[in-house]
């Protein structure tokens, strides 16, 4: 049975801990990437399954969140490439965001929708940088592109998001 380099945890205990700690963040990442809750849940399940099978390959000195995010983004990419996407509508609007218990902040939702509407190459960089808190080196490794390409994409994405972000800031100041 695979074991992870860590203090006295079996693989079952380790994966349970990882699911408890990272499931929600990965679910949000995958939803923002795929625009579909059921697909996002599948991607998260696939991510943890792959992680479980590769626990013994995980380098203890690496960031576990980065590692899981890399697996998740690749699962999303696989799904995005699949024939499924030929048959569904990928547009996204505020009313397609999952229903919340707390009150919606329209300016926040506008920014989120703008992120989700970014072209896929810009979207994945933004999600990894801001949402998964990766740096450009980690993103470059995850997406197998150069660090310069990551910086270029981040710059382009920020340009596209600037208007929505400004409005969110104005809304905060007024509210």
């Amino acid at each position: 049975m695979a074991t992870v380099k860590g203090p006295y945890r079996s693989a079952d205990e380790e994966i349970t801990h990882l699911v408890e700690t990272h499931q929600l963040a990965l679910l949000r990442l995958c939803f923002a990437y795929l625009h579909d809750q059921a697909l996002a849940e599948d991607a998260v399940q696939e991510t943890f399954l792959k992680a479980y099978k590769k626990l013994d390959q995980f380098q203890g000195n690496a960031n576990i969140k980065t590692w899981l995010s890399s697996i998740a983004i690749n699962c999303c990419r696989d799904m995005h490439r699949g024939s499924w996407f030929r048959h569904i509508d990928r547009s996204i609007s505020v009313d397609q965001l999952p229903a919340r218990a707390e009150e919606a902040i329209p300016e926040y939702d506008a920014v989120t929708i703008e992120v989700m509407r970014l072209p896929i190459r810009l979207r994945e960089v933004i999600l990894l940088y801001y949402f998964q808190d990766m740096d450009t080196t980690e993103i470059a490794e995850t997406l197998r592109i150069s660090q310069q390409a990551v910086s270029n994409r981040l710059q382009r994405a920020r340009t596209k998001l600037r208007k929505a972000l400004s409005e969110a800031e104005r809304g905060e100041q007024n509210g």
């Binding site: 949000r28 509508d89 990928r90 547009s91 926040y108 509407r117 072209p119 810009l122 596209k160």
Partner: protein
């Protein structure tokens, strides 16, 4: 609050409606140990239809259990799939029109697209979304003409033998763009992006129907319209800009039976196949092919299927309007027929 924290707070707030699955870790462990094969909802188009039908409140009761097998015919996992009790009758309550009627209308549009054009059409309502594409293609009614046309394409394999008693032949060769280039559709709205290799990708962020980020390659948009529920786009892909990425052949016989052959450059490797309880899978060796798997059933109600794959010596790159830049290192061929001798299916590409 710094920029990163602010953006995290925004995304977390907007997506706070997503909930954790408290049983996920148990499912992962059970699945990893082979105790609980978990059905993936995204496995096939049949699955998509099933989900849509559930949403449309069509009654389900029957289930179908089948095995997933690999190229060697070895079982990978067992799948339970829900089957609808009735035909697809979901309809759009607003428009009072069924999915089948919508698909008929879409087919009508697609059938009237000139061969050389690329087109996509979408229908979207509160109840369901459906769509279809027409790839640039060249059609043939003669096997000899088809062979002549394909003689310069060294990365795709063509049949080396066809049954002597065939009475009809129809084929279409499908194409995508081989050049990454600006497109002239709504250029003022586009985002121009330089790839690592210096080439340019063009995105249309305002195209919220269909494929918002997929305007790569040289597809010149010549027609676009939409009403409340239908969106239509047509593009021209010049012959000089096109690359052949596959073909489909249909061969007819006097008893009205057919053999279908589908060949395509594959970018996502197919690693498993559906095997129903009454079907038999046999690995086969076919000349030049890396793998071969023959799936047969005893009766005449199901098609026999021969799957072939071949690794390419040199990967082939192309630009798909639907999926962006693609690099394929594999050719996949599927041959399907009712009531044909399995030896004949194998002989089509082995020639022996």
């Amino acid at each position: 609050m710094d920029e990163k924290r602010k953006m995290q707070a925004i995304l977390n707030h907007s997506l706070s409606g997503l909930k954790e699955n408290p049983f996920l870790s148990q499912r992962i462990i059970a699945q990893a140990k082979g105790e609980e094969p978990v059905k993936k909802r995204t496995i096939s188009f049949i699955g998509i239809i099933a989900v849509l039908l559930v949403l449309a409140a069509v009654a389900y009761a029957a289930t179908e259990i089948y095995r997933q097998i690999n190229w060697k015919g070895e079982p990978v996992e067992t799948i339970t799939e829900f089957l609808p009790l009735s035909e697809d009758t979901s309809s759009d309550s607003d428009a009072n029109i069924s999915r089948n009627e919508i698909n008929d209308i879409i087919h009508l549009y697609i059938d009237n697209i000139p061969d050389e054009d690329y087109a996509e059409i979408w229908y979207k309502s509160q109840t369901f979304t459906t769509g279809n594409i027409h790839q640039k293609q060249k059609n043939f009614t003669s096997y000899e003409d088809f062979l002549q046309y394909m003689s310069s394409v060294d990365y795709l394999t063509v049949p080396s033998w066809l049954p002597e008693n065939m009475i009809s032949f129809s084929g279409k060769v499908l194409m995508e763009s081989q050049i990454l280039k600006e497109t002239d559709a709504n250029p003022e709205n586009f985002v121009y992006y330089t790839n690592e290799d210096g080439s340019i990708s063009v995105f249309n962020p305002d195209a919220l129907w269909g494929y918002p980020d997929a305007l790569w390659g040289y597809y010149k948009q010549v027609e676009e319209w939409e009403n409340d529920q239908i969106k239509f786009c047509r593009y021209i892909l010049d012959d000089t800009e096109a690359i052949i990425t596959g073909y489909q052949l249909t061969i007819g016989f006097p008893d009205h039976s057919e053999i279908q052959i589908i060949c395509e450059l594959s970018t996502s490797l197919g690693t498993s196949f559906k095997l129903e309880s009454d079907e038999t899978a046999t690995p086969v060796t076919v000349r030049d092919m890396t793998d071969g798997l023959l799936i047969t059933s005893p009766g005449q109600e199901k098609k026999d299927k021969l799957f072939l794959r071949r690794e390419l010596n040199t990967p082939v790159s192309f630009v798909s309007l639907m999926k962006g830049e693609q690099t394929s290192s594999e050719e996949q061929i599927t041959i399907m027929a009712y009531d044909q001798e399995p030896e004949n299916l194998i002989k089509i590409f082995s020639g022996e």
